[in-house]
Symmetry: C3
Subunit: 399 residues, 3 copies
C-alpha cells in the first residue's frame, strides 16, 4: 500500500515540482548594455516594422466584386466613304451590355452588301493567275479569301486573280483610316458602378461612397486631384492618365486597364479608410516590334434578308479601345492567429539574445576568465567532481 502511495507521490512531484535554471548576475555595465541594446533592436523591428509598417498581425481576404458600366455620348461623322451619320451608344458600344469589360468603337472598315457568291480573290502571289488552269477548283487556303472555283477572272483592268466562293464583295483589307472616324469618342464618359465584398469579414462597399450626394454625381467628372471620388470618367482623361494619346490609340485600337484598388485596413471603425483608388494603364503592347496584330480589332456582321429571302450582311471590322475594369485589393483585419505567430516569432528571436551576449561576454570582455569560472563548470567524469573551466575560448553557451 505504501508503495502505491510512494509512487503516486513521486509522480506528483515529478509533475508539479518546479525546475528552474540557476543563474548568475553579472553587474557589468557593458555586458548589460549589449544585452539590452540587442533586445531593444529586436523589439523595435517587431513593433515598428512588422506591426506598424507591414501589419502582419492582420488576417487577409481577397476582394470579390461586380461592375456595371454605362457609356454616354454620341458622335457625328461625315466622311467621303459614308453618309452623314450620328453614332450613339447602341452603335458604338459592343457588346451593348456594360459589364466589367466594354469596347468603344473608334475606327471602322465597313464592307456592305456581302452575299454568299463568287468574286475575284484579292491579289497576292498565290491568287494571281493568267488562265483557268492556274486555279485549282476547291482549294481553300487558310490565309486566303474563300474556296476557289477554278476560274481565273478579271480583278482590275490589268490583273486577273482566281475566282473564289465567299462572302462577296471581299473586304479590302487595307489599313484602317489614318485618323480615327470616331475621334469624338474622346469626350464620351463612362459611369462605373462597382460593388465589392470581403466575404471573410462580411464587409460590403460600393465605389459610390455613402457621403456622396446625388446632385454631385449628376455633374461630376473624375479627376485625380480635384474629384478623386467621382465614378464618372472621361475616356480621354483615362487614356492620358495611362500615358497615351487618345487619337493615336483610337486609330488601331488597344486595351486599357482601369484598375480599382480596394486595399483596406478594416481595423478602422466602419472601414473609414476603405476607399477605391483608380489607376489606368495600357494593357496591350503598342510597340509593333515583336508583335502580330497590334492594336485591337475584330470583325462582326449585321445580317439582313432581302425581300426575296436572300441573306446579305454588312461586315464591320471594328477598331476600338477595350476598357477592362480590374478590381483588386486585399483587406486586412486583426486576426488572432497571425498575431500569435508574429508574437511567437519575436519571442524566438529574443531567445537568441542571451547566447549572443554570453558569447560576447566570454570572448571579448577583459574579465572573461572570471565570468567563465563562475558561469561554466566542467564535469570531471572520472573524479565525480566539478572543476572550474580552463579550456579554450570557444566554450560559449551553446544554443
Amino acid at each position: 500500500m505504501s508503495r502505491v502511495v510512494d509512487f503516486c507521490q513521486n509522480c506528483l512531484h515529478a509533475f508539479l515540482d518546479y525546475e528552474t535554471a540557476k543563474t548568475l548576475v553579472i553587474p557589468n555595465l557593458r555586458v548589460g548594455c549589449i544585452f539590452r541594446f540587442i533586445q531593444i533592436l529586436i523589439l523595435l523591428y517587431v513593433v515598428g516594422y512588422i506591426c506598424v509598417v507591414r501589419k502582419s498581425y492582420q488576417e487577409n481576404d481577397s476582394v470579390i466584386s461586380t461592375v456595371t458600366t454605362k457609356v454616354k455620348g454620341f458622335a457625328f461623322t461625315n466622311t467621303s466613304d459614308m453618309d452623314a451619320r450620328l453614332w450613339d451608344v447602341a452603335d458604338y458600344v459592343i457588346p451593348p451590355q456594360g459589364d466589367d469589360s466594354f469596347f468603344v468603337l473608334t475606327n471602322v472598315v465597313i464592307t456592305p452588301n456581302q452575299t454568299q457568291s463568287r468574286c475575284p480573290a484579292l491579289p497576292n502571289p498565290k491568287t494571281t493567275c493568267m488562265r483557268d488552269s492556274d486555279c485549282i477548283k476547291g482549294l481553300t487556303d487558310p490565309r486566303g479569301n474563300g474556296v476557289q472555283t477554278g476560274q481565273c477572272v478579271q480583278f482590275s483592268t490589268n490583273m486577273k486573280t482566281c475566282e473564289v466562293f465567299s462572302w462577296c464583295p471581299l473586304e479590302i483589307d487595307a489599313q484602317p483610316p489614318k485618323s480615327a472616324i470616331l475621334a469624338a469618342a474622346e469626350n464620351f464618359t463612362v459611369l462605373i458602378k462597382n460593388s465589392i465584398m470581403y466575404p471573410k469579414f462580411n464587409f460590403h462597399r460600393r465605389n459610390i461612397l455613402p457621403h456622396i450626394g446625388s446632385s454631385y454625381l449628376k455633374s461630376c467628372e473624375y479627376d485625380q486631384e480635384t474629384d478623386p471620388e467621382c465614378p464618372i470618367f472621361q475616356l480621354k482623361y483615362m487614356v492620358s492618365e495611362a500615358g497615351e494619346d487618345f487619337q493615336d490609340m483610337a486609330v488601331k485600337g488597344g486595351v486599357l486597364g482601369i484598375f480599382i484598388d480596394w486595399s483596406c485596413n478594416l481595423d478602422w471603425p466602419q472601414g473609414n479608410k476603405c476607399h477605391p483608388k483608380y489607376t489606368f494603364r495600357r494593357m496591350d503592347n503598342k510597340n509593333p516590334l515583336n508583335d502580330v496584330a497590334t492594336g485591337l480589332n475584330f470583325r462582326f456582321a449585321k445580317y439582313y434578308q432581302t425581300p426575296d429571302g436572300k441573306e446579305t450582311r454588312t461586315l464591320i471590322k471594328a477598331y476600338g479601345i477595350r476598357f477592362n475594369v480590374i478590381v483588386f485589393g486585399t483587406a486586412g483585419k486583426f486576426g488572432i492567429v497571425p498575431t500569435i505567430i508574429n508574437l511567437a516569432a519575436a519571442l524566438a528571436l529574443l531567445s537568441l539574445v542571451p547566447p549572443v551576449t554570453d558569447w560576447v561576454m566570454l570572448t571579448c570582455m577583459r574579465k572573461r576568465d572570471l565570468y567563465k569560472r563562475h558561469k561554466v563548470s566542467l564535469l570531471l567524469e572520472d573524479t565525480d567532481a566539478e572543476s572550474v573551466l580552463s579550456m579554450g575560448p570557444t566554450y560559449g553557451t551553446q544554443k
Copy 2:
C-alpha cells in the same frame, strides 16, 4: 606535432562537449501548479483554437472555375403598346451565350423604325426655341439628342424645339412601364453548371455531385431546405432569397449575385466535405438616395435594311436583372510548412512560461528570499566570489 593534436582535441571538445544549464528543483506545489497551468492554457489554445477551429496547419489554395448557364422559360405579353408577343430565350437572354454572367430582360422601352434623319429635339430648357436663330447649326450637346441643324420646328401643337440630326424618331426617355412587361420572368429557371479546380492540390469537382442521378436533375428545383444540391434555380426564388421582391426589381432592373462557396477541407478522404453552398445577394444599390441611374438598363439596337438599302433600326432600352455567378472559396489541406510554423509558434510561446513563473516565484511567494538565494547568485567582480543575492525584488529571471 602534439600541438596540432592538442588543437584538434580542443576543437572536438568545443564542438562535442555538451553544455547544459544547472537547475534547481523547487518542490513547491503552488509554483508547480502555476507553471503547469500556464503551460496547459497555451497548449489548449494551440490545439483547440489554432488546430481545430482555424485549421492553421493547412496550406491554402484559391478556386479556379468555369460556369455555364442555361435559362429556360417563355413569357407571353399583350400590352396596348405592342402586339401580342411570345418571348423565348433567344429574345430575352442578352447576350445569348450563357457564361458566368447572364442578363434576363424584364422590362423594355422600344423605339422602332429609327433612321438617320432629322426630327425635333426632346423639349428641355436648352432645346425649346421660338425661331431658327435660337438654334445653332452644328451644336452637339453631350447630354442632347444629336447635332442641331439650325432650324426651329414644331415638337407638339404648342411647343417648338430645335431640329436635330440623329436616329429619328427619338426615344421618348420616359420611365419604363410601371409594372414589368415580362413579369412572367419570375418563373424562368436557370441551370448552372460549375466546374472548379484547386490547382495546387490537383482537385477537380463539379456542382453536379457524383451521387446525383439524371432523373432527379430533370425535375428538381433548388431549395435551401429541401433540395440544396439541385443546380436548377427559379429566378424568383433566388431574388427572394436575396431579400428582394422580384416584381419590384424587374421594373428598373438590378444585379443579383449568385455566390457559390467552395470552401473545402481536403483532408477528408475524397473531398467528402467539399460541397458547393449557394447564397444570393443583391449587388447594386436599390436605394436611389445617393445614386445615379439606379437599376440596370442598357440600349441596344436591331438593325434592318429596307429594300432600297436604307438602314433602319429598332432601339431597345432593356431593363432587366443581371445574374452574376461568383465562385469563391479556399481549400485547405495539411501542409508541412504551416504546421511547423504553428508548432514553432507554440514552442516559442511555451518558452515564455518559465520566466513568468520565475517572476511570480521570486516576487509573490512567501519564501521568495529563500528561492532567490538558491537560484540567483551575484558575482562580486572585485573579490572574485559569488554572493547570495540580496538586492531588490526586481531581480526576476531575464528573458
Copy 3:
C-alpha cells in the same frame, strides 16, 4: 537625498545587470553527438526543405491579367439542308469580340423565317389532342412551346396537336447533325495575347516574350515540344492535348479550359524564370450519366424585318466549343516578414534540442546519476539547503 540615489542605482542595476544561466559542461562524446545530430537535422530541414524546396522566405502575390483572342480560318459547308455556304470569323465566333472566353460554332440547327404566329405544338403526351376541347385556351406549359390558342389542329397527316401562339414554325428540337457541320473548325487557329501583372511587385509581362521576333510569330504554331512559346494555337491541337477528340466534341459542344500558369520566382534577375506554361483540360462533363444537357449549346436569333414591317427571325441553336482562357499563378519574391517568421520557427525548433538531449542524458546514459547530481539540485525548503537530487528518473529538464 541618498535614498533617491540608492533607488536610482538599484533601478539601474535591475535594468543593466546581466543575468546568465549557470551551465555545466559534460565532456561526453555520445551526449554531444546526439545534441549536434538533432541540431543538424533541424537545420537541414529548415535550409533544405523550407528554403530551397518550398521557398517559404518569399512573399506572394496573385496574378492580374487581361486576355485578347483572335480566331482565324474559314469553313465551307455544302449539306443537303443548307445552300453552299462559306463561314468566316464573323459567322462562327460568338460573340465576335475576343476576350478571355470565346465560342467557336461547330454545329447548328437552323430554323428560318419564324414569325409571331400560330402553329401546331410539337407532339408529346400533353399536346396531342382529338378535338378542340382537349386544348385549354391560354395554357402556358413552361416546358411547352407557347401559349395554347384552344384549337386542335393537324400536326401531320395522322396526328393532331393543340395549336400554340409562338415563334412559328417551331424549332424541331431533334438532335444536332451527327457529324459536326463545321468539322473544318479543327484547323482554325487562335492568337492569344495575354498581359499579366503582379501589382505587389510592380511586375508586368506578356505571353509574347521579348526575345520572340515578329517573323517567327507570323508563321509559328504552338507545340508543347517544338514551339512552347508561340502564342498561336490550332483548335484541334488544344482539344487533343486535353485528351479529347475534336470531331466528337464538335457534335454536341463543350467547354475547354486553356490554362496559362504564370507561377514565377521573381528573385531571379529580370524575372528570367517567368514564362507562361500552357495546359489544356476539358471543363464540362462529357459523360452523360448524371448530367442534364451535356455539351454546350445556346439559342440566338437574327432578326429581320419584312418590307411591310413585320418582324421575322432565324433561330439558331448553336453547338460549339467554348474556350476559356484561365490565367493563374503566384509570384514569390524574397520578403523580410516571411523570412523572419521562418527563421524564428527554426530557432524555436532548435530550442527543443536541449530539453530532449537532457532527457536522453538523464535517463539513458550509464552515468545518468552522476550527471543528475551535478546538474540538478533539490531545494530542501525546511533546512534551507540544497541536496543532490535522488528522486526517480522522471526528473528531466522541464521545458
